[in-house]
């Protein structure tokens, strides 16, 4: 749709939006596309390809025998367990935060939104360190935990907590703007027709936000399974017990077991590819349902 001003201007000059006005010459298009693709190939495609090339360097058998290792399997299991706790926890939080922020007016709202984003600004290493300061041997609750024979740091609870911290904002920051733009009219209607709060939430709100919800969960899950720095600080690197997949990759790599390291890494790379495909699909569905 052309604006009246532009229409007037183009009628004055006698040219109706000649392609020269808004399009770059062919050589510019080719050069820029070439530069962009070359840059992306070097920085993105090459590292991704290298993971698989290194994993299969000694053949298919060596690749698959890397997964026969009990420690590798334990690391896969721990990574799945961690994501299975951290992602639902942050999902519930994200929905609660978005409901409070998008559906009600209260003072301090913008401060709350900033605080929710805070974990993104914290270095992963520091995200682990702060839990050591709280639950570690010399930490606030260290003595109490020992008394009750509980272990958080260098154990699974610490890994789950650090992962929850680094993936904290993902779902909330997808849902808050989405629910704010959608407004509350449909919920008002449902309530005035006699639905109770939970019915309204399940039958009106959830269908409206499901794509945003799924989007947030996909990103949250990718980060939860792939987190390295924060988990590295709290894990203690006990083989078969507190090693997640990224930590197991590091251990194998430092032992010069490159095929093993890249084999486990290739699983994480496949996870990344699946994440990107799902993300693109959700974006496409979301654009479709909005009719754009």
């Amino acid at each position: 749709m052309a604006s009246p001003v532009a229409n007037t201007l183009s009628s004055l000059t006698g040219s109706t939006a000649s392609p020269r006005a808004t399009q770059d010459p062919a050589w510019v298009r080719w050069t820029l596309t070439g530069v962009a693709l070359l840059f992306l190939t070097f920085f993105l495609a090459l590292p991704l390809a290298a993971v698989f090339a290194e994993a299969f360097r000694r053949g298919v058998d060596a690749y698959f025998s890397s997964f026969a290792d009990a420690d590798a399997i334990a690391s896969i299991r721990l990574t799945l367990l961690t994501a299975l706790i951290a992602v639902p926890a942050n999902l519930v939080f994200g929905i609660a935060a978005a409901w409070a922020i998008a559906k009600f007016d209260f003072r301090g709202k913008s401060v709350l939104i900033t605080l929710i984003d805070l974990p993104f600004a914290v270095s992963p290493v520091i995200s682990g360190l702060i839990y050591v300061l709280v639950f570690g041997l010399q930490g606030w609750w260290g003595a109490w935990l020992i008394e009750h024979d509980l272990k958080v740091i260098f154990a699974v609870p610490g890994i789950v907590l650090a992962t929850t911290f680094v993936t904290f904002p993902f779902v909330a920051r997808e849902l808050i703007p989405l629910m704010q733009t959608q407004g509350s009219d449909e919920e008002f209607t449902a309530i005035s027709l006699g639905a109770n709060g939970w019915q309204t939430f399940w039958h009106v709100t959830v269908p409206n936000i499901k794509w945003g919800l799924l989007y947030g969960v996909i990103l949250c899950n990718a980060r939860a399974m792939g987190e390295f720095g924060a988990v590295s600080v709290v894990s203690g690197h006990i083989r078969g017990e507190t090693n997640t997949m990224p930590l197991h990759v590091e251990i194998l790599y430092n032992e010069y077991n490159f095929v093993g390291a890249f084999a486990v890494a290739s699983l994480l790379a496949i996870l990344a590819i699946v994440t990107l495909v799902l993300k693109a699909l959700v974006e496409w569905r979301h654009a479709q349902t909005r009719g754009t």
Binding site: D24, L40, A100, L219, A222, A265
Partner: protein
């Protein structure tokens, strides 16, 4: 800070949802974060300074800052081109390329780290052509820069893309019909519109690079005074059970990150106002 509702609503669940949000935020984020500041506050000033300003730590600030700056600038330049090409041109496989831009968000940092090291080491795909010319990437400052460029790229592209696709072609037509050449249209009309998201994207990529750990530690070689980044020093201090030293450096980094976060928030406000008017 009091969270008092300013307007009544017929919708239920205000108390429950806000109560849960605040408790969860406090338990997972605020209380643990405050532990770092409280621990550092318990140190004497002299101890704190000697922990955060020793020559080895200062060298790490320098590397972290300069490598993040260089990565942010390179990402701003190429990110702008990538965003332009993805929004304005069409070519086969564009959707795949567009999805690939998010790879650094999706690929675990440790995996990126060992992959980049494999590519740029002496026998790697790229390293084997660089080393004969005396260019070493793996285990040098250049390697740190490469890793930080990798993880920062999507921030710039994804901040520019939405603004660029909402720019109306009419303003370019208007500029052209007023006699501007294509080059003048781009430099005087389009680029000024893209400056706020470009600066925001740069700041986001810079901030992420400062704290990055996983993708860097493999390729950097971690040589004291030369290729140690600041987050690595926190880990090193922790491994020596020097909790005070680790916390002191962490507090310096947290203050830097929160300052950047504040600047980014202001930039985004400015950016939004800029292109809505």
């Amino acid at each position: 800070m009091s969270f008092i509702r300013t307007k009544r609503s017929v919708l239920p669940g205000f108390g429950l949802s806000l109560g849960f949000t605040l408790s969860y935020l406090g338990l997972i984020v605020l209380i643990p974060l405050s532990a770092a500041f409280i621990k550092a506050a318990g140190m004497s000033w002299a101890d704190f300074v000697s922990a955060v300003a020793s020559p080895r730590v200062l060298a790490s600030y320098r590397l972290s800052f300069l490598a993040s700056l260089a990565a942010g600038l390179v990402n701003s330049f190429f990110g702008l081109i990538v965003a332009w090409v993805l929004v304005r041109y069409s070519f086969p496989g564009k959707r795949v390329v567009d999805a690939l831009v998010d790879l650094p968000f999706a690929l675990p940092t440790a995996v990126a780290g060992i992959a980049l090291t494999a590519i740029y080491s002496k026998n790697g795909w790229v390293g084997q052509y660089l080393e004969p010319h005396g260019i070493k990437v793996a285990f040098t400052e250049i390697g740190v820069f490469m890793a930080l460029t990798f993880i920062g790229l999507p921030f710039v592209v994804r901040t520019i893309q939405p603004v660029l696709s909402e720019l109306e072609p009419e303003i370019e037509e208007a500029a052209a019909s007023l006699g501007a050449s294509r080059w003048q249209t781009i430099t005087r009309v389009i680029l000024p519109e893209l400056m706020p998201p470009l600066i925001t994207g740069f700041a986001l990529s810079f901030a992420r690079a400062l704290g990055e750990y996983g993708s860097v530690v493999f390729i950097s070689g971690n040589m004291p005074m030369r290729t140690e980044i600041t987050p690595l020093l926190i880990i090193t201090k922790l491994e020596q059970y020097d909790y005070h030293g680790a916390t002191a450096i962490a507090v310096v980094m947290l203050v830097a990150s929160f300052t950047l976060l504040l600047i980014i928030n202001l930039l985004q406000k400015w950016s939004r106002r800029y292109y809505q008017v």
